[in-house]
């Protein structure tokens, strides 16, 4: 694939929150690119900042308690969304960049009909007449495969199932044919069968409308199935970005490796084995360690990791398309393990 210019490039995105215990940095120096028609996955444990990233892009976080560092850049068609004024953001939201959320049960306004809420997006961004908007809405409902859309359009959110509501959300997001769709854990709240249908739906809509999708999830299986590239985040930092196949088969950052190992694999061989887990807990955002944030839990941790934070640099021999934030990426030989981590041998499957 020739490398066309990214439709959305995020550089040094840093967002801080004012809390009653002082200011805390939720995400720090997040950078990644999104290419048109591509699906970028953002994965990481809950609380690693992936939702904050997505909401920072859309500027959906409450102004008073959120500070988006002025140095952060979210370039979209030449405008920096981080510093854009409210009017431009309103023009872009829903029309050029759309978003769907995790909880379909509460994401729709309970006191308005589905048709009204679809109609609202069209009213802001198109100059279609009432009848035209209504037919467009029904057309969108059909697009997202909602049976007998004419009747459903006048019903209330509480009359639809979870899956159905997520479809409405997607219809609402895509009705203005945005360039970018941010999906914040769209299927987490749904059961597996519905989850597959939604993902398939998103996949073919992406192809038909050439919409770039940022898919935020903690489910690596979904990433493998749907995403072209993926970014792994940990404690507010992007620690590895790259093509899905490379990340899954040749992860550079020990955390990504550990993350992949923790996916349960079916099949007899694995039967009865304990599921490998990552020791320790994510460091609290209030007292972040000086060096690499994964140091405490990293099997390959060296004194160097503890005092300087590694930069997000391309892995050897691969170029820009695969970046990692680790002094001793897995591609190098395993360094001499220091005494303090003897117990944490993390080689896969070696568990007795």
């Amino acid at each position: 694939m020739t490398t066309p210019s990214p439709i959305l490039s995020v550089r040094h995105l840093t967002t801080r929150f004012r809390t009653d215990r002082g200011i805390v940095t939720a995400i720090d120096d997040v950078s990644f690119d999104l290419y048109p028609g591509e699906t970028l996955g953002i994965v990481g444990e809950s609380g690693c900042g992936k939702t904050v990233t997505s909401k920072s892009i859309m500027r959906l976080l409450p102004e008073r308690t959120t500070i988006i560092d002025p140095s952060s850049q979210i370039m979209f068609e030449g405008t920096n969304l981080a510093t854009a004024d409210d009017r431009t953001m309103r023009r872009i939201r829903g029309d050029r960049i759309a978003m769907i959320f995790q909880e379909p049960m509460t994401s729709l306004n309970p006191v308005f009909t589905i048709g009204w809420q679809l109609d609202e997006a069209l009213k802001y961004h198109t100059d279609l007449g009432r009848a035209a908007r209504r037919s467009r809405a029904i057309e969108m409902l059909k697009l997202v495969e909602i049976p007998n859309a004419e009747r459903r359009v006048d019903e209330y959110p509480h009359q639809l199932s979870g899956g159905m509501r997520q479809r409405v959300m997607i219809a609402m997001a895509l009705c203005c044919e945005p360039d970018v769709l941010i999906a914040d854990e769209p299927t987490t709240a749904l059961d597996v069968t519905i989850q597959a249908q939604i993902l398939a739906l998103m996949e073919n809509l992406r192809k038909r409308l050439n919409t770039a999708i940022i898919l935020i999830t903690h489910n690596l299986g979904v990433v493998a199935q749907v995403c072209d590239r993926v970014a792994v985040m940990y404690a507010g930092r992007v620690i590895e970005v790259g093509g899905v196949r490379r990340i899954f088969h040749d992860p550079q950052h020990p955390y990504t490796r550990a993350l992949l190992d923790s996916i349960p694999k079916a099949g007899r061989k694995e039967h009865g084995k304990r599921l490998p887990t990552i020791e320790g807990i994510v460091p609290s955002l209030f007292d972040l360690p000086k060096g690499c944030r994964f140091a405490d839990r990293c099997a390959r941790c060296q004194p160097l990791c503890r005092d300087t934070e590694p930069e997000l640099l391309p892995a050897e021999g691969v170029g820009e398309s695969h970046l990692k934030r680790c002094h001793f990426p897995l591609s190098q030989a395993a360094p001499v393990t220091s005494a303090s981590h003897a117990a944490m041998t993390s080689s896969p499957g070696a568990r007795p």
């Binding site: 939201r93 959320f101 209330y156 959300m169």
Partner: protein, 351 residues
């Protein structure tokens, strides 16, 4: 929906009977007649008054006759000293029958108040309803409007200086007793203000019917009522609205690119209206009693003052009738609130 209303009505019958029983019983703890008579009371006058009020008849179908003042009705069955009397001729049943017919005194069949001997109780109540409404309805509308606005503003700009000052004002207003507001309001609102203005904008008391006298007599009580009432409502509405703004569908609406005022006035307000309307509906029955202290101090002949005067002067028929009417209204309003609830919130299915 109508089946729901019917069922609720059925359920409230025992409640209503309970209220009437408690109230009539409390009033008969001490002999109301002798308490009422004036300077040159004689035994004869007491007896005549008692008979005119039907107080010489048993209260409940079961009763013990006081030999000194015989009921004058033969009990159906006498067990020891307890007699079972024909229910239809007892005070309790007779009064309930009167409520059913909503007949509180007509020209031919008078049911006179003791205080104003030539007025029927029904007529007295009817006259008293309008002054009270002329104060409580504007007060309710104004209080609700201002409280919603204050709630909206401080919720929309939560944590800002505006929000903080509004909330400080509200807490200050709540901390001062309503009585002080009325006393000082009456002194400063009328005599001091009229002195300053040179003409009389607000009367310090009294009442004259007619819409053109509304400003002169009712405006000051309404203003005081709003100032007093606004605090509580504003805090409640603010809490409701702040809670609504944190809901997910608001984030969806923002994500759709909806402008700020649409988000507040359309998305949030419609949802917030549900608790708002419930709260307004709760105050409706008290529209009738009005603010008793307000009417007492401003001498407005509304329902509240009528009842307080009746209690002070032991005007037996008015107390009984008033409480019965009020309790009935209260129950109807509760049912109305639930029905209106369903209208506003589609999620509520009236089982």
């Amino acid at each position: 929906m109508w089946s729901y209303v019917a069922r609720r009505l059925l359920y409230s019958i025992p409640v209503y009977l309970g209220i009437i029983l408690i109230m009539m019983g409390a009033l008969r703890l001490r002999d109301p007649v002798s308490a009422y008579l004036g300077k040159n009371a004689t035994a004869e006058t007491a007896l005549l008054k008692k008979a005119s009020m039907g107080l010489d008849r048993p209260f409940l179908p079961i009763g013990i006759e006081d030999p000194a003042e015989p009921f004058g009705i033969e009990p159906i069955v006498e067990v020891g000293r307890v007699g079972f009397y024909p229910p239809l001729r007892t005070q309790y049943v007779e009064f309930l029958w009167r409520i059913l017919r909503f007949d509180f005194g007509t020209a031919e069949r008078p049911y006179r108040s003791w205080q104003f001997e030539s007025d029927n109780v029904g007529a007295k109540l009817a006259d008293a309803v309008w002054p009270t409404l002329k104060i409580t309805i504007p007060a309710l509308v104004l209080t609700a409007t201002i409280a919603i606005l204050v709630g909206l503003l401080s919720a929309a700009y939560r944590g800002s200086v505006l929000d903080k000052t509004l909330m400080v004002l509200v807490v200050l207003g709540m901390s001062i007793s309503v009585v002080v507001f009325i006393v000082l309001g009456q002194v400063f609102g009328s005599s001091w203000l009229n002195g300053k203005l040179g003409f009389e904008l607000f009367a310090s008391n009294g009442y004259e019917p007619g819409i053109q006298n509304w400003v002169k007599y009712c405006a000051l009580p309404v203003i005081i009522g709003v100032v007093v009432g606004m605090g509580y409502d504003a805090r409640f509405y603010r809490a409701v609205m702040v809670e609504e703004t944190s809901r997910d569908y608001i984030t969806t609406a923002v994500a759709k690119g909806a402008p700020r005022h649409k988000i507040i006035f359309v998305h949030m307000l419609k949802n917030a209206m549900i608790p708002v309307i419930t709260r307004i509906m709760i105050t409706i029955p008290f529209l009738i009693t009005g603010s008793i202290v307000m009417e007492y101090q401003f001498r407005i002949p509304g329902m509240g003052k009528l009842l307080i005067d009746a209690i002070v002067n032991k005007d037996f028929p008015i107390i009984q009738t008033f409480t019965a009417v009020l309790a009935g209204l209260f129950i109807l309003t509760n049912i109305l609130t639930d029905v209106l609830y369903a209208l506003v919130d589609p999620r509520v299915r009236l089982a």
